[in-house]
């Protein structure tokens, strides 16, 4: 846990934490944190993703698949050592933000995130990826209408939790949504998942992580599929029935033979995660979100007193 103020109660200049916090420039802190969080995300995969890729390499029986996984592991190491983005496609920048109702300066968070993205684009750098869909003009700073994409949720407490989620276009292009007939139900869901993986082939950069969102409204289904991607690889769904479905579908997906980069092999997906919402009696929405092997995410928690804690990577100073 990082403290930005070192306090010594014996010191004659000791100021109680609460008074220091009043003078704290939280907006500036969040801006700086955004830059460092994006830098961490794009240069270093979380430990669970690295482990899954190493396991996939060890288990892969197809020689071409093995060459792909070896290149992936070498690339991850090079990026981490030299602090260079793992992939040139640093994505359309997204954030998942949980904000405590007691957190100070709520109105300044969005501006801080936007300023942070602008700075990160130059300082890291990130590839400028925000393009106007009508004029085709690239804004060159990763800022645009509704971009970065910020997903808010309000929670109890006095802290702010930011997850930087830079996701590339290759895997995003393969995302699929279908509103099944309730009669097709679970069988329809299983068929849709497996057919989507086969259709996507090598395009989403397998071995992928597959997020499946079930139920809710159409937009909620895709949102749930994306949220499923945020769950660490080694964590199954808390409901044992759904956890079993995750395992069964992952096994099925990996028996298709699509393999790393679609060149054939055993590792088509590293993980498959499901999230659900209750559905309307007439509809059974299923959304599938693909995440490429470069499953980049970094999460930090900021407390109102200015303390910052990194949750996705061990022992990191993000300020």
């Amino acid at each position: 846990m990082e403290k930005i103020f070192k306090l010594d109660e014996e010191d004659e200049y000791y100021v109680p934490f609460s008074r220091l916090a009043e003078n704290l420039d939280l907006q500036n802190l969040i801006e700086k944190l955004t830059v460092n969080l994006l830098r961490l995300a794009v240069t270093e995969l979380p430990a669970d993703v690295k482990k899954a890729l190493k396991d996939a390499y060890r288990k892969e029986s197809n020689p071409i698949g093995k060459i792909q996984l070896k290149a992936i592991l070498e690339n991850i190491q090079l990026a981490e050592e030299e602090r260079i983005p793992i992939c040139q496609d640093t994505g359309l920048i997204s954030f998942y933000v949980k904000v405590g109702s007691e957190f100070r300066d709520l109105s300044k968070i969005e501006e801080a995130l936007i300023k942070g993205v602008k700075r990160a684009t130059v300082e890291i750098p990130l590839r400028p990826n925000a393009v106007n869909p009508f004029t085709q003009r690239n804004t060159n700073n990763n800022i645009g209408r509704y971009v970065p994409c910020i997903h808010w949720s309000i929670i109890d407490g006095d802290y702010l939790e930011i997850t930087a989620f830079p996701k590339g276009g290759g895997s995003e292009n393969m995302c699929a949504l279908r509103i099944l007939k309730p009669a097709e139900g679970l069988s329809g869901l299983k068929r849709f998942v497996i057919e989507s993986v086969v259709d996507a082939g090598g395009m989403p950069c397998p071995p992928t992580i597959i997020g499946v969102g079930v139920g809710g409204t159409s937009d909620m289904a895709m949102n749930l599929a994306k949220k499923a991607l945020l769950r660490p690889i080694d964590k199954s769904h808390s409901d044992p029935v759904i956890a079993e479905l995750e395992r069964d579908l992952l096994r099925a997906v990996n028996s298709t033979g699509v393999g790393p980069m679609g060149l054939g092999g055993d590792s088509t997906a590293l993980a498959l995660k499901i999230e659900y919402a209750h559905r309307h009696p007439a509809s059974y929405p299923v959304a599938i979100a693909f995440q490429c092997w470069a499953a980049r995410r970094a999460t930090a928690r900021v407390y109102s007193d200015g303390r910052v804690e990194c949750l996705s990577h061990k022992d990191r100073n993000l300020l």
């Binding site: 060459i67 290149a71 992936i72 290759g170 299983k190 090598g202 069964d248 579908l249 033979g257 054939g264």
Partner: protein, 200 residues
């Protein structure tokens, strides 16, 4: 699986020696082009205008690199491949008109490109998607950049590379596509897999 060293310019004879699954390292010049550059090349071809770079016997790379300005120069930090299928509707014409020998990308291409490769003597090689730092390490220098007005990722970057790879021949000039073969095998299994998982 053979290991092969290739150099640009690549002759038709040498490209015809490649077979799907071969493991290739490429040295010489590679030229990047993705969606917008392809559209502009097609427009130039249609209007019979001269394209400001030559693809004859060269390698075309589906890539939008991450570059950093360094004084008057550009530094290439990360330069992995982009999804080739987006260029499928253009590539047969590009091969026919501009004499490209090797296309490098990820995810494979369709039957139109495969047919053009067979007819005109070209091949498709896959570079591991996302392995962008590894790719950048093989780029020795930027020879030139054209069409910068398309934006940094869409511009045409001309790179000098040394043993660029590992590349896997995904489509050869004999009409074979590893992607189609993997897909055909997968489709044969598909119903069994779906039925098995439904009955679980």
């Amino acid at each position: 699986m053979k290991k092969i060293e290739l150099h640009t310019p690549i002759s038709e004879k040498n490209i015809r020696k490649l077979n799907v699954g071969d493991h290739v390292f490429l040295s010489g010049t590679i030229i990047t082009a993705r969606d917008s550059a392809h559209r502009r090349m097609m427009k130039h071809i249609a209007e019979k205008r001269k394209i400001p770079f030559s693809l004859k016997d060269m390698a075309l790379y589906h890539c939008g690199p991450l570059v950093k300005a360094h004084g008057d120069e550009w530094l290439v930090l990360a330069a992995g491949p982009t999804t080739s299928m987006r260029m499928e509707s253009f590539e047969a014409e590009i091969i026919r008109n501009l004499g490209v020998r090797l296309i490098i990308g990820k995810g494979g291409m369709g039957w139109k490109t495969r047919e053009a490769m067979k007819r005109y003597g070209a091949a498709y090689a896959a570079f591991t998607g996302g392995a962008a730092v590894l790719a950048a390490k093989r780029i020795k220098r930027i020879i030139d950049v054209k069409w910068l007005d398309l934006g940094l990722p869409e511009a045409v970057w001309i790179f000098e590379v040394d043993r660029f790879g590992p590349l896997i021949v995904g489509i050869d000039s004999h009409g074979r596509s590893l992607y189609e073969e993997v897909r055909a095998k997968t489709l044969r299994r598909l119903n069994r897999i779906v039925e098995d998982v439904i009955s679980e």
